[in-house]
C-alpha cells in the first residue's frame, strides 16, 4: 500500500513537472530566438540552442528602432497612472468606508456596476471628446480617463474598512483634521493594499494595447506595446528577430516587479478575483 502510494505520487509529480515544462516551452523559445539571426528563426529545423548565437538583435533593436524611447514612455505613463489612481481611489474609498452620507449606497452601487462595462463601449465617445479638445496623439487619454477606476474604489473601500475607527477618532481628537487623518493615519496603515493596487495599475498600464493603438500617431510617443507590435509587422514583413528581443526586454520589468512583490500579487489576485 505504502509502495503503491509512493509510485502514484511519483507519477503525479512527473506529469505535473512535464506539464510545467511544456507550459514554459514558448518562453524558452522566445529567449533562444532572441539570440538567433532571423533566417535561423524562420526556416532552419528547430534548434533549441542557437547555432550562431548573437547579440545583434538587441543591438539593432536598441539603436535602429524607437524601442528604448518607448520603454521610457511606458514607464512615465504607468507611473502617472499609479500615482493618480492610487490617490483618488484611496481618497474616495476612504469616504465610502468611513463616512455616512446621503446617497452612499447608491453611488457605490453605481460605480461598481460599471466595473463590467467593457473598454470599447466608452472608447468611441471618449475618442470623439479627445479629438474635440485636441488630446489626440498625446498621453493624456492614456492617463486621465483611467482615474475612474471602479475596481480601485472597491479594493480600497474593503481595505480601509478594516482600519479601526478608534484610531481615526483619536487622530481627530488630536486635531489632525479630516484630510490629515487620511494622509497621516489611514495611508500608512493601508500601505500593503496600496502596493497591491499600484502593482495592478502599473501592469495594466504597461500591457495596455488598444488605447495607445487608437490614440497615438507619433512614433516618439509610442508605448512599448505599440512599438513592439509595430516592429513586428512592418508592412507584413515579420521581424521576428527584433520582436523576440523586444518581447524579452518588455517583459523583464513586469517579471522583476511581480517576482519581488509576489505575495501582494497572489493575495490581490485571489481576493480581487473571488470577491469581485
Amino acid at each position: 500500500m505504502r509502495y503503491q502510494m509512493l509510485i502514484s505520487k511519483l507519477i503525479i509529480h512527473i506529469i505535473v513537472g512535464a506539464g510545467a515544462l511544456f507550459m514554459l516551452l514558448p518562453l524558452y523559445w522566445m529567449v533562444v530566438s532572441a539570440f538567433k539571426p532571423l533566417p535561423e528563426i524562420m526556416t532552419v529545423p528547430v534548434t533549441f540552442i542557437p547555432v550562431n548565437a548573437t547579440l545583434e538583435n538587441f543591438r539593432g533593436l536598441l539603436t535602429e528602432t524607437f524601442f528604448a524611447r518607448s520603454m521610457l514612455n511606458s514607464t512615465v505613463i504607468a507611473l502617472a497612472n499609479v500615482v493618480l489612481q492610487v490617490f483618488f481611489c484611496s481618497l474616495a474609498g476612504f469616504a465610502f468606508a468611513k463616512y455616512r452620507f446621503p446617497g452612499r449606497e447608491v453611488l457605490f452601487t453605481l460605480v461598481l456596476g460599471t466595473v463590467m462595462i467593457p473598454q470599447y463601449v466608452t472608447l468611441i465617445p471618449n475618442y470623439i471628446v479627445m479629438g474635440r479638445i485636441g488630446w489626440l496623439d498625446t498621453w493624456a487619454p492614456l492617463i486621465i480617463p483611467g482615474i475612474a477606476n471602479a475596481f480601485g474604489i472597491f479594493w480600497m473601500r474593503q481595505y480601509i474598512a478594516t482600519v479601526p475607527d478608534e484610531l481615526l477618532d483619536a487622530a481627530r481628537i488630536d486635531g489632525a483634521g479630516e484630510f490629515g487623518t487620511y494622509w497621516r493615519i489611514v495611508v500608512p496603515i493601508i500601505k500593503p493594499g496600496l502596493v497591491t493596487l499600484a502593482l495592478f495599475i502599473f501592469s495594466t498600464s504597461w500591457n495596455e494595447f488598444l488605447l495607445p493603438l487608437v490614440y497615438l500617431r507619433s512614433k516618439e510617443l509610442y508605448t512599448v506595446q505599440l512599438t513592439m507590435a509595430n516592429i513586428f509587422r512592418v508592412q507584413y514583413k515579420f521581424n521576428y528577430h527584433w520582436a523576440m528581443a523586444s518581447a524579452i526586454l518588455a517583459t523583464l520589468p513586469m517579471g522583476i516587479l511581480f517576482a519581488t512583490l509576489q505575495k501582494q500579487f497572489i493575495s490581490g489576485l485571489t481576493l480581487g478575483g473571488l470577491k469581485g
Binding site: M116, T122, P125, A150
Partner: protein, 299 residues
C-alpha cells in the same frame, strides 16, 4: 434638547461635506469618462457618420443594418465559438492541475506557480509574437515539428479557416492558464480540512471525496470563472490583431475586432457604437442568466 440638536446638526453636515469633498474628484472623472460616454454610446448607436463627417440621428437603422450584416453575424458566431471552446477547456484543464498540485508539498506548488507566472504578467503583444513564430506554417516551424513527431502533416495553423480559431484558443488558454489555476487553488484552500477528515474517518474513497465534497464546494469558484471567462473572452481583440488581423477571409474576426475596424478605419462611428452596445447587452444577458440559473450556493 434644542442646544443638543444645534450641536449635532452642523457636525453631521460637516461630515457630509468632508465625505463629498473626498468623493468629488473621483466622481468628476467617473462621470466624464465612464458614465456620460456609456450614455453617449447608446445615443451614437442611433446615429450615422464619423469624426470628420459629423453624426446624424437615424433611429434604429443601425440595428437593422447590424442584423442584416453578414460580417457582423460572422464575427458574433466566431466570438461565440471561440468562447465556448476556451471556457470549458480552460476550466477542465486548470481544475485538473489544481487538484493534482493541491496535495503536493508547498515547494512543488511554488515551482508550478512560477512556471505559470510569466505568461500571466506578460502582455498579449509579446506573447503573440512568440506564438506567431511557433505557428509558422513552414514544415520546420516549431509546432509543425512537434506534431510531426506524432505523424501529423504540417498545418497552416493561422492561415486555414478551420484551424485559425482553435489555434487562437490554444494560445489564449495557455496565456490565461496561471490565473485559472490560482483561482482554483484559492477555492480549494477555502474548503475546511475537517470535512475531508470526517469523510476519511467514514471510510470514503478518493472518488467519493472528489465528487461529493470537493467539486460541490467549488461551486462559487466555478461560477466566478464561468462569468469572468465569458465576459473576457467575448471581448477578444489583442490576440486577433496581432496573430491574424481577422483573417483569413474574416475567419477569426471577433466582434470587438469588427467594432475597432469600423470605428477607427472605416469612420463608421455610429455603426461601431451599435455593435458595441449589442455586444454589451449580449454579455449582460449571459451574465444575468448564469448568475440566476447556475446555483452558487453550497448545499
Amino acid at each position: 434638547m434644542v442646544t443638543a440638536q444645534q450641536h449635532i446638526l452642523p457636525r453631521r453636515a460637516r461630515q457630509y461635506l468632508t465625505a463629498y469633498s473626498f468623493l468629488i474628484p473621483y466622481l468628476a472623472f467617473y462621470v466624464t469618462f465612464v458614465l456620460l460616454p456609456v450614455l453617449w454610446s447608446f445615443y451614437l448607436s442611433l446615429c450615422k457618420g464619423g469624426l470628420l463627417s459629423g453624426t446624424e440621428f437615424i433611429g434604429f437603422q443601425n440595428y437593422i443594418k447590424a442584423w442584416n450584416n453578414s460580417l457582423f453575424i460572422r464575427a458574433l458566431q466566431n466570438t461565440a465559438y471561440y468562447t465556448l471552446l476556451v471556457v470549458p477547456l480552460a476550466m477542465l484543464s486548470s481544475l485538473t492541475l489544481a487538484l493534482l498540485i493541491d496535495k503536493m508539498a508547498l515547494f512543488w506548488q511554488n515551482v508550478v506557480k512560477s512556471a505559470l507566472f510569466l505568461p500571466m504578467v506578460s502582455s498579449v503583444v509579446s506573447l503573440s509574437i512568440i506564438w506567431k513564430a511557433i505557428f509558422i506554417p513552414d514544415r520546420n516551424g516549431p509546432l509543425n515539428t512537434l506534431v510531426g513527431v506524432f505523424g501529423i502533416p504540417p498545418q497552416n495553423w493561422l492561415g486555414n479557416p478551420d484551424l485559425v480559431i482553435p489555434s487562437i484558443v490554444g494560445f489564449e488558454i495557455w496565456r490565461g492558464y496561471g490565473f485559472w489555476v490560482i483561482v482554483f487553488l484559492a477555492g480549494l484552500d477555502a474548503i475546511p480540512n475537517d470535512l475531508y477528515e470526517a469523510a476519511r474517518v467514514d471510510g470514503a474513497n478518493a472518488w467519493y471525496i472528489l465528487t461529493r465534497i470537493t467539486l460541490p464546494l467549488l461551486r462559487p469558484t466555478f461560477l466566478f470563472l464561468l462569468v469572468m471567462g465569458f465576459i473576457w473572452n467575448f471581448q477578444l481583440f489583442d490576440a486577433v490583431y496581432m496573430l491574424t488581423a481577422g483573417g483569413p477571409a474574416n475567419a477569426s474576426a471577433t466582434v470587438v475586432w469588427y467594432v475597432y475596424r469600423n470605428a477607427f478605419h472605416f469612420e463608421n462611428l455610429g455603426f461601431a457604437a451599435t455593435m458595441g452596445v449589442l455586444l454589451l447587452f449580449i454579455i449582460l444577458i449571459l451574465t444575468v442568466l448564469q448568475l440566476k440559473y447556475i446555483p452558487s450556493e453550497v448545499d
